[in-house]
């Protein structure tokens, strides 16, 4: 399946309004939640089908205008699965035929705020998934960006999944992370990368209020830390754990 979802939020008279909400199966976007006191508007991505499956090409575009406040969540974890069996008569297959991809491009204008809090990606056995996120922040924009991966369903070895994320602030690279798990990734389960942990996640927070003083580095437990970044008013919390619950608990308390 090939699909693009688009969400555009703008501020009008001090309130955030969704001016674009484009869904395309399996990416269905629904406005949810009450209007928060802070004026943040919340939307959920509702999975219209299992997946992503090998061969899927998914794209999500998020635009937050000056002063607008948007929160994007998903109703459930995404489960990356291998694609349908490749028919022999179709000839040799290329990675493009069997790989699933998710491209996310978000832009947040000055004074805008985006909280991207999806449920995790579960890399099921045999999957071949690539997720690429590019976030462009104007200086003075706020961001909360969560990424979590679970390596396989219960008792299952994961397929290949790689997550590439880039966050730019005022045109300069603030954070770049590429995480790869699965049989093609070398040493990913070993003690330098996940150390046998089946789940990992990061929570990146960019807050213009931290320009003078970002949060200090802190060890949040044996498998988690909060780390102020070099390139701006931002910090990254990273966690590795036996399961998602452990990782989520560490990320949830990282900035409180």
């Amino acid at each position: 399946m090939k699909a693009t979802a688009r969400i555009t939020a703008v501020a009008e008279a001090g309130r955030t309004r969704l001016v674009t909400l484009r869904s395309e199966p399996p990416l269905l976007v629904r406005r949810t939640g009450p209007r928060h006191a802070a004026g943040e508007v919340e939307v959920h991505l509702v999975g219209g089908a299992a997946g992503p499956l090998g061969g899927d090409r998914l794209r999500i575009e998020v635009t937050v205008g000056p002063g607008a406040r948007l929160c994007v969540r998903t109703v459930a974890a995404s489960l990356a699965l291998p694609g349908p069996r490749w028919p022999e008569r179709a000839g040799p297959r290329s990675p493009a035929d069997t790989q699933s991809t998710l491209d996310i491009h978000a832009t947040v204008a000055a004074g805008g705020s985006l909280r991207w809090l999806p449920e995790p990606l579960i890399a099921a056995r045999g999957c071949d998934h690539v997720s690429r996120s590019l976030v462009d922040l104007e200086s003075d924009a706020s961001l909360t960006w969560r990424e979590e991966v679970v390596c396989g369903r219960h008792g299952e070895d994961p397929g290949d999944a790689s997550l590439h994320s880039t966050v730019r602030l005022g045109g300069r690279t603030l954070a770049r992370q590429d995480l790869a798990v699965g049989p093609r990734a070398c040493g990913w389960a070993g003690p330098a990368v996940l150390g046998g942990g089946r789940a990992t996640g990061t929570l990146l927070v960019v807050d213009p209020l931290w320009t003078e003083k970002p949060p200090e580095a802190a060890v949040l437990g044996p498998g988690a830390a909060r780390m102020p970044l070099a390139g701006g008013p931002a910090a990254l919390a990273a966690a590795v754990g036996g399961d998602l619950r452990e990782v989520r608990a560490a990320l949830d308390r990282a900035f409180t």
């Binding site: 590439h164 880039t166 300069r172 690279t173 603030l174 954070a175 770049r176 992370q177 590429d178 995480l179 790869a180 990734a185 070398c186 040493g187 990913w188 389960a189 070993g190 003690p191 330098a192 990368v193 996940l194 150390g195 942990g197 990992t200 990061t202 580095a217 802190a218 060890v219 044996p222 498998g223 988690a224 830390a225 780390m227 102020p228 970044l229 070099a230 390139g231 990254l236 990273a238 966690a239 590795v240």
Partner: protein, 210 residues
Amino acid sequence: MSTTLLLLADGRFPAGGHAHSGGLEAAVTAGRVRDLETLAAFLDGRLATAGLVAAAFAAAACRGGDTSTLDSEMDARTPSPALRKASRAQGRALLRAGRTLWTLSTVERELHHPVALGVVAAAAGLAPEEAALTAAYGTVTGPASAAVRLLGLDPYATHALVARLARDCDAVARRAARVATVDELPACSAPLLDIGAEAHASWEVRLFAS
């Protein structure tokens, strides 16, 4: 073949590398690395992540890439302040040593270690792939020799692990040297190296600086 390459890659090159364990001390204390088998897995993961990133940055700097751009791109790939500090300390020591041996193209005194390595390699007349190889090799030999001290492992068996990684190390260097633009520079993360480095920096007593 080049003696200069051997000189720069030699652990006895006076750039302070021996003071750093490449994250191994934290991994040993956390119980994640205990023996040869877990050390081998640690080295695999470090070479594939920090090793590839360091090799690509060293090659890019050696090729004459803008050092301040490369340095801030390296910052963006190093979320851990403890690792940024360790990388800059090693970069500073390497620039100081390199400047007394060769004529460097930059007046900078402090760069991330892989960027400094590329600059020094270029000044020494090495090619980008040789700079990449030196960087990749350093990311495994540092923790390997630290393992002998921290775990009392047999030095022969430990060196056998490094020898077994030779082909992977060559492959990482070749891949790193093929990176053509700043956007293509890899950013392979190793969450436990970051988290371990932060824990390590919080200790009052430690054998290695990082």
